[in-house]
């Protein structure tokens, strides 16, 4: 535990340094993409606990993101809306007006998302497979429709004017946190129990694993970090709208997992980076070929080819480890 804490502190120090370096020397566009990759990593790694480890196919991640984004924005942003009764515009000043309030606001967003995860998870996790996917999809839609009709936070127009608090330091601090927590979790009794539920729920139950309770806990864990990621994204984009968190966003995160290898955390990280950076990297291809729009075709083609030739994803269920690297080195025999 002490060792883990040491790694955590060291890693956060590194992100702090990296943040300064990126801000000083690297193109703003590149920094933006790196930051978006970080947010994708948080989303993919947290969803991996639900979809990959526990095997519960959830399509509600964008809903939890939306909750996190709006709740954290509520604490940091001035809300302006038209008051029908007083027939004038009113403004509500934010509760946390300084940057110090950013982390509490993010955590609040995460906690509300986690609470929503519990409320949604307890009834829906009785469902399996496709049914659960549809139920969670419905949850995501409910969230965005409610926001669309909630004028105080801008309704369908979205909420502008979020302070630009998200930066590489905060985003990657949470990346480090979610990776380390999920890594520890994956190797704990709890993580093994989740895998057992994925592999065979009936057998897990007759081995004494309280399957329903653990599934809800995995759901809450994933929802918390989705909420935090939503808050980070909101304060990076500075404007949030319900359309940002539609179900395509959930599907995008699922695709990241499938691409990287469902159940592998390394895969989730790689899938998140590839899917976020690839469309941007393909812009060069597009301008080189002189064919506007071709990048999305290439992007889709890459996904299709990968699924044909490597249906288990880039990493399968494996994790990147020294053992795996050693096995990949030429001229050496694999461990037995």
């Amino acid at each position: 535990m002490a060792r883990l804490l040491g790694i955590l502190v060291a890693a956060i120090a590194v992100t702090f340094g990296a943040n300064w370096l990126l801000d000083s020397f690297v193109d703003e566009y590149v920094v933006r993409i790196i930051n978006l990759c970080g947010i994708s990593i948080i989303l993919a790694v947290s969803l991996n606990v639900i979809n990959g480890l526990c095997g519960q196919f959830s399509l509600g991640h964008a809903g939890f993101m939306a909750i996190g984004a709006y709740v954290s924005a509520y604490f940091t942003t001035t809300l302006r809306y038209f008051d029908e009764a007083a027939t004038k515009y009113v403004a509500i000043e934010p509760m946390f007006a300084s940057e110090w309030g950013f982390v509490p606001a993010l955590l609040a967003g995460g906690l509300v998302a986690a609470a929503a995860g519990a409320v949604v998870g307890i009834p829906t996790l009785r469902l399996k497979g496709d049914y659960l996917a549809i139920a969670t999809l419905g949850f995501g839609e409910i969230v965005t429709i409610m926001i669309t009709n909630f004028e105080k936070v801008g309704g369908a127009n979205g909420l502008p004017g979020l302070p630009p608090y998200s930066n590489t330091f905060w985003i990657f601090s949470f990346v480090v946190l979610v990776i380390m927590l999920s890594w520890t979790l994956q190797r704990s009794t709890f993580g093994r129990a989740l895998i057992a539920i994925r592999e065979n729920e009936l057998a897990a139950e007759v081995m004494g694993i309280p399957a329903s309770r653990l599934k809800v806990m995995a759901f809450i864990y994933g929802a918390f970090f989705a909420g935090v990621a939503g808050g980070l994204l909101g304060h990076l984009l500075q404007t949030i709208s319900p359309a940002t968190f539609n179900f395509m966003k959930s599907i995008e995160v699922v695709v990241m997992l499938v691409l990287g290898g469902l159940g592998s955390m390394t895969g989730a990280v790689v899938g998140a980076i590839v899917l976020t950076a690839l469309p941007e990297a393909l812009r060069d291809v597009e301008s080189g070929l002189g064919l506007p729009g071709i990048r999305m075709v290439v992007y889709s083609l890459v996904l299709i080819l990968l699924m044909i030739f490597r249906p288990q994803g880039i990493f399968g269920q494996k994790e990147l480890s020294l053992k795996l690297l050693a096995r990949l080195l030429p001229g050496k025999k694999g461990d037995k």
């Binding site: 592999e199 057998a203 081995m207 004494g208």
Partner: protein
């Protein structure tokens, strides 16, 4: 005689409108191997599912060590020593053999004894020891059944429910599995066994019940049933 470790009294279970178990009453005494035999769809597996809390009875009581467990959750019963090895082996295919066994010990709190117990299980099942790093799904059918039994034993059952351990296995492997059942029983575990393979189940048990369309038809000691002309005709393929 002492109080039975498991007692089913007047159990009625329904799948929707289908009346699957009709007034089932049976008992298992400590130290026994009791078998339930019967054809497909007779209600054998449903009976086991009712015992371990996966199905609920509308009437009567399921008593385990004198306590009514009619509404206890399945995972809670494991802590009490009532464990099922599910039909179709039900191992975790993507976990290694050793991980499968460790999950068997999930409900245990005596973490220090688990290592010793694991070693003991590897002694009983040397094949599993050879393959302890292999994924469960790569084992042969018989080995998977061994693993399922060994995994159930890791949770230190007092009463083990075995659902069709011979299903889909070659006759020679079935022999080995049943020798294991004998050995487990000798080590003090009471066993309630569900089998379609009536002959071998009767040879390896003390008492037996025959289930026919959700009702207990015949009951008695296994030796009696092996000689019973009705059992012979219907389940042993003898005229």
């Amino acid at each position: 005689m002492a109080e039975p470790i498991l007692e089913l009294n007047d159990i009625n279970v329904y799948y929707g409108a289908i009346h699957a178990l009709k007034n089932i009453s049976l008992s298992v005494n400590e130290g026994e191997v009791v078998t339930l035999i019967g054809a497909n769809g007779a209600g054998k597996t449903t009976t086991l599912a009712t015992v371990c809390g996966l199905m609920r009875s509308r009437t009567g009581a399921v008593k385990y060590r004198g306590k009514d467990i009619g509404s206890a959750p399945t995972h809670g019963l494991v802590k009490e020593g009532l464990v099922m090895a599910p039909e179709g082996r039900g191992i975790f295919p993507n976990l290694s053999v050793e991980e499968n066994l460790r999950i068997g010990a999930y409900a245990r709190t005596d973490k220090s004894d688990i290592e010793a117990d694991l070693k003991h299980k590897f002694e009983i099942f040397p094949r599993l020891h050879e393959r302890r790093r292999q994924k469960g799904g790569t084992l042969s059918g018989g080995e998977q059944q061994m693993l399922a039994i060994a995994r159930s034993l890791m949770s230190q059952p007092k009463l083990l429910l075995l659902d069709e351990p011979s299903l889909g296995l070659a006759p020679l492997i079935v022999q080995t599995i049943f020798q294991t059942v004998d050995q487990v029983n000798r080590e003090g575990v009471t066993i309630l066994l569900v089998e379609q393979n009536a002959r071998i189940a009767l040879k390896h048990s003390h008492r037996a019940y025959v289930i026919e369309s959700g009702e207990i038809g015949i009951e008695g000691t296994s030796a009696e049933l092996l000689d019973d002309p009705r059992v012979k005709a219907a389940y042993l393929g003898e005229a």
